[in-house]
Amino acid sequence: MTVRRQAKLVALCLAVFVVVAFAVVATAKEKVTFWTSHSGKVDREALELIASKFTESQDKYEVEVTIVPGSETDVAKLMTAVAAGTGPDVYLVDRFTTAQRAVAGALTDLTPFIERAGWKPQDDFLEFAIEESTWAGKIYSLPFDTDTRGLYYRKADFREAGLDPDAPPATIEELDQVAAKLTKRITDRRFERFGLIPWLGQGWHYTWGWAFGGEFYDLAARRLTCNHPAIVESFAWQQKVADEYSIAAIQGFASAFGSEAQDPFIAGKISMIVDGDWKIAGLQRFGPDVEYGVANIPVKAGVGSTTWAGGWALAVPRGAKNPEGGFEFARFASGPVGQEIYTRDTSHLPTLKVLVDRSDLFADSYHDIFLQMLPFARSRPALPVGALLWDELTSARDYVINGDKAPQKALDDVVERVQAELEKHF
């Protein structure tokens, strides 16, 4: 074969390839890439189901789900990918970090898409959820699932201690009395069982801060108020528990706790714990014989019922190759079809008003209690310093229970540090 003939052949092959490629592209759906750090089997499969339902529901887009490393506040993978221009079209963010990622320039403002669609998300989503997705009047993510927290207690332990298993403590005072009765010591520094270790499970700073009647942020004054007297009191209350039983002894006892069947509540090492609705699934699987009840989180006398709600949201990262497709998928997944699948398959709570009274989506009766908490549930202040505030509050709580700082000082320090960061954004 001469060189000329060879060249002709190559050119012909190329031409055929180009034509075929164009034909394929023209008929194929546009790709929408969706990243999530949810690697657990149940959550992942539900997300994949939603993605395939969306792909089937229309002719334009096709969603590809990818599991990426990351966690609630650790989005290193997303940040580096967005910086490199290789980010996805949709990312599942921890909703309370929306403002922070928006301010960092990692998210696309969804307001123009929402307006073009003539849609009012405020009508569809629960108020606390859409508030968390909003920063400076613009919507940066669409609320997905949520969760609430309640007090789990073991009925058998209550009976054994001579307490009424159908009358869980409703106030902090009652909680203290009940916890003391349920705690069983082996020696001075060793325990067989604890009534309550306040900071375990979901007993976070926000949980007890609100239960004591505290406020973490003053929206009008744009000031953090984490050193609110009631929050200081909630820290002092936890410090009292730490001092009474010796923090080293409690930590030794608690570090033996595991997950699944070694979960301290399932294993009977603690009688009460504040935890989220997801614990129901764990109890079903690893402790089917545990007889337990769920109640609202006990509050300080005079404070109304309270709990806090977290959850995730769908955002379109900046520089997405297909922002329209990303928005359409986010809307579908956060809409009635997507959230119904997710609620039914994962037992997470929905953020859509139309799904709030759908207790039929849950296989058990315990979820009802958590659904009923949604009307008074609160969300963490939607601030661009959300992750920092969380870490600082957690450190402050640790300082206090370890006796390194007094409650007032620890919380004053949080306000000072985080307020300075916050003010950069106004």
Partner: protein
């Protein structure tokens, strides 16, 4: 001096052959280093530069940031224990592995094995070993009548636990020491034996001086490693309890990727670099008295 055509050609060819590395170095190492210096003078979220602050990040870090001080303290605490301890452990291991025994290669393999386990995995293993109630370490201590501490769950013990855990990887350094030990000329020991020197004298006046350049190398590498300690705290403790294991690089990582303060994190990185540089220079300058290079006149 003018170069001939041939010389220019050879130089160009050489550069061309080295270009994959050169391009990679410039793009992925040199440029990021220079860029991070620039970013350290800005407010940078990782995506957008939102302002130029001059030395603001550095000033804030040193004068105002309580956690910066705490994390620096934690890292220096780790460094001042882990480096000397690591040296002693590795040396002792190397001396033991240098014994003449039939099955010595089996022991050598065993000592090296932990180094094959990724830090990520070994951190998980140690989390279990150090568990206060079920862990193997406290179980053994209990057998000899000691009530073990909470290890990583107790802020007074957490840093020390990570220091002890780091010794698990001493086998790698021990192998380097072993190679150096075997390079020490036999004749020196034979002469010492003729003079009736004790084992300790031989160790002190022959072995240690002869391997001192390798010890210096080890100390400098260990210092670098200790300044950058990150993985065990990231995996085992997330910096807790009560920030007792919040090491410098972990706090840097949090600023960069959790709090969106890449500018501040860059400034932290540069300060750490300067600190490591000064420490290394001090070690190099003061080492002359302790380090002996063969052929050197004393």
């Amino acid at each position: 001096m003018r170069k001939t055509k041939q010389e220019v050609r050879t130089t160009l060819m050489g550069l061309a052959f080295a270009s994959p590395w050169l391009i990679g170095f410039v793009l992925f190492v040199a440029y990021p280093i220079v860029a991070s210096l620039y970013y350290s003078f800005t407010e940078f979220t990782g995506l957008d530069v939102t302002g130029f602050v001059g030395f603001g990040n550095y000033v804030h870090m040193i004068s105002k940031d309580e956690l910066f001080h705490k994390s620096l303290y934690n890292t220096l605490y780790y460094l001042s224990l882990a480096v000397p301890l690591g040296l002693v452990v590795a040396l002792v291991l190397a001396l033991l592995l240098n014994l003449k025994m039939r099955e010595i290669s089996f022991y050598r393999t065993c000592v090296y094995i932990p180094n094959i386990v990724p830090a990520f995995a070994s951190s998980f293993i140690w989390l279990w070993m150090l568990n206060p109630e079920y862990g193997l370490v406290n179980l053994l201590l209990e057998k000899i009548g000691i009530w073990g501490p909470g290890w990583v769950s107790d802020p007074r013990w957490s840093k020390l636990s990570i220091v002890l855990m780091a010794q698990w990887g001493a086998g790698g350094s021990a192998m380097i020491f072993l190679a150096a030990l075997q390079d020490v000329p036999r004749s020196l020991y034979e002469v010492a034996d003729l003079d009736g020197a004790s084992s300790w004298t031989k160790l002190r006046y022959i072995t240690l001086p002869m391997i001192s350049p390798v010890i210096l190398f080890h100390v400098i590498m260990a210092l670098f490693g200790a300044f950058q300690v990150f993985t065990p705290a990231y995996i085992m403790t997330s910096g807790g309890p009560a920030n007792s294991t919040l090491f410098y690089v972990l706090y840097l990582y949090r600023n960069a990727f959790n709090y969106g303060k890449m500018g501040y994190a860059s400034a932290m990185a540069w300060l750490l670099f300067l600190l490591a540089l000064v420490t290394t220079l001090v070690v190099m300058k003061t080492s002359g008295r302790f380090v002996y290079y063969q052929g050197e006149e004393r």
